[in-house]
């Protein structure tokens, strides 16, 4: 089976005017301008199978949004091959645009002073959706997102979370088979984030849609993306399973114990690294292969009331991955 998305040696470079501050520099820039080349995307290769959910991660300025814009046809690549659903995105053919959607958490397509239902209707006309299919889709999306009366309130009167729910519905009215989601949960409260995540997963399962998600909230990634592609400074630094990433970067477990009495911190010597102790709770970090032995010893040695074992938090894993790839890049530069 052909991949739904294939990206090969993708480069996107910008020429940026570089001007120091001050009046003299401003005047100088009138006659002579210094430009520097910014490599927003610098040779990325990956592919995504139909129906796959992929997290596209990286720090700010890593090239995530640029890549999504190239994949959706908004930006033309400087170099490299990109195919989405059998189309070359930069051609922006009607059939391609009807296959995809791009949701950007910081940009909206809803008409500000009209109810979302008007934007839905506008999209029905633009995507040439029959009335019966439109009604069916709206009913489905409304039930999943619990839109209710939201669709008939002016967009400007909706809260951020309500707007995002309607924004997602507007973006999915034509039932796209490829979803590019650029920080769809940004700024939302925990409960709304969870609603949006559940909805995205539901849509993916119902329609077999392929999705690429960028988010700085690791809960989004954990809940939605079995696979992650990590970019930093425009280069790909990891492509694989989320579990494998955690195991590779942090081959350790977090063991959280709650005891029935206080125990001195020094008593934990020989039980791995003590991450924190607070009252009767202690958090240990232990190598994966020694985890079961250490836990057995701890249960024997201390009056344990409660025990939790987890992987290292994804935020820490990502942070470590970024610092490692930066160190490697700096080493390469020198």
């Amino acid at each position: 089976m052909l991949p739904m998305i294939s990206v090969s040696d993708l480069h996107k470079h910008y020429r940026v005017h570089n001007r120091p501050p001050g009046v003299m520099a401003a005047l100088k820039s009138l006659v002579h301008r210094d430009y520097k080349e910014v490599r927003a995307v610098d040779g990325i290769t990956f592919s995504v199978e139909p129906g796959e959910r992929v997290g596209f991660l990286g720090p700010n300025g890593a090239g995530k949004t640029t890549t999504l814009k190239v994949l959706s046809g908004l930006l033309h690549p400087t170099r490299g091959q990109v195919r989405v659903g059998g189309f070359t995105p930069k051609d922006r053919r009607d059939a391609f645009l009807s296959t995809i959607t791009l949701v950007m958490g910081q940009k909206q397509q809803l008409m500000w002073d009209l109810p979302p239902s008007e934007t839905f209707e506008l999209n029905r006309g633009i995507y040439d959706i029959s009335r019966s299919r439109f009604n069916e889709t709206i009913a489905e999306l409304s039930s999943w997102l619990e839109l209710g009366s939201l669709v008939s309130k002016p967009t400007r009167q909706l809260s951020l979370g309500e707007r995002m729910k309607c924004e997602l519905a507007a973006a999915l009215i034509h039932r796209p088979s490829v979803l590019f989601l650029d920080e769809p949960t940004i700024g939302l409260d925990v409960s709304m984030q969870s609603t949006i995540r559940a909805f995205i997963k539901q849509y993916n399962e119902r329609y077999g849609a392929t999705l690429i998600l960028t988010s700085h909230y690791m809960d989004d990634v954990t809940a939605l993306c079995p696979r992650v592609v990590v970019v930093d400074r425009g280069k790909l630094s990891y492509d694989g399973g989320l579990e494998e990433l955690v195991t590779r970067i942090r081959p350790e477990k977090r063991v959280m114990l709650r005891l029935d009495r206080d125990v001195d911190a020094s008593a934990w010597e020989g039980f791995g690294k003590v991450v924190s102790t607070e009252g009767r709770s202690v958090v240990l970090q232990v190598p994966n292969e020694q985890a079961s032995a250490i836990i057995t010893r701890a249960l024997d040695a201390f009056p344990v009331e409660d025990l939790t074992i987890e992987n290292a938090p994804l935020e820490e894993v990502m942070s470590e991955l970024f610092s490692r790839s930066r160190a490697a890049a700096e080493e390469g530069d020198t």
Binding site: Y14, G73, R92, L114
Partner: protein, 267 residues
């Protein structure tokens, strides 16, 4: 998007855009207040003409001329330059480019959808004009009114295509609206908005004839106030549509080069 699909989508786009125009009715009324200059000029020139006619314009002719100017301005104005400038600067253009309809068609549809709102102002003004100056001041030949319709379409297209061309400069400049300010300064002087073009000295009028401004406003006004016979009106409309074609070419080039830059640098 193919033309067939665009035509098929147009009724829905017009319907929703009309709802949007209705939602902005307060802003629209404020805009109408900014276009009352012809009424001020009417008072001014009527006072001048009360002593003696100015050229072929007596008080009645000035009344017909400036009320017509007000109506034509209501029905042919375009805000494409400001809208595009805003959308490019704020990245909203991306949302339009993601849809299978050419953005210029959707801008045009939004303009057409606002027409009923404009008619609400223009029709009473036309009734007042008719009552004040009498039907005899207007052309009686139906063919002239057919030509007038073509001149109105041409006038709107000149305004719209100029707006698109200037709006496309936002792909290259920090802000293109200043360019539109320059255009409007020239428009006020050379379109017949402040005074009928025929009152200009012939040397200046000759220059104005080769600029697009007169065809954006003055020509439909002149046709509806009986300044031309059939042949004269047809000749002027042919010249007007020459400017339409020229601006269509310019707008197309500006759009293609602008969008290429947008695709290269993003927005």
């Amino acid at each position: 998007m193919s033309l067939r699909n665009t035509v098929r989508a147009m009724p829905v786009i017009l319907k929703v855009s009309f709802s949007e125009a209705l939602a902005y009715r307060a802003e629209f009324m404020i805009w109408v207040l900014t276009t009352t200059m012809p009424l001020i000029m009417l008072a001014l020139w009527s006072a001048v003409a009360s002593e003696a006619p100015v050229g072929r314009f007596g008080q009645t002719q000035f009344t017909a001329y400036f009320l017509s100017t007000f109506i034509v301005r209501q029905l042919t104005s375009s805000w494409a330059a400001w809208q595009m400038n805003y959308e490019v600067r704020h990245g909203v253009m991306s949302m339009r480019l993601l849809k299978p309809i050419h953005p210029l068609w959707s801008y045009a549809a939004e303009h057409w959808a606002a027409l009923p709102m404009r008619l609400v102002v223009a029709i009473p003004m036309a009734a007042i004009a008719l009552a004040v100056v009498g039907a005899r001041q207007l052309p009686s030949d139906p063919a002239i009114w057919g030509i007038w319709c073509a001149s109105m379409a041409g006038a709107w297209l000149i305004g719209f295509l100029t707006g698109v061309t200037v709006g496309c400069l936002s792909f290259h400049l920090e802000s293109s609206v200043k360019v539109m300010d320059v255009w409007f300064a020239l428009f006020f002087m050379a379109s017949g908005y402040l005074f009928p073009i025929v009152l200009l000295p012939s040397a200046i009028r000759h220059v104005v004839d080769w600029l697009p401004f007169r065809y954006q406003l003055g020509l439909p006004v002149e046709i509806m106030t009986g300044a031309y016979d059939r042949a004269g009106a047809l000749w002027m409309v042919a010249r007007q549509w020459g400017f339409v074609l020229l601006l269509l070419g310019l707008a197309t080039i500006a759009w293609r080069t602008g969008i290429k830059r947008f695709e290269a640098y993003g927005g």
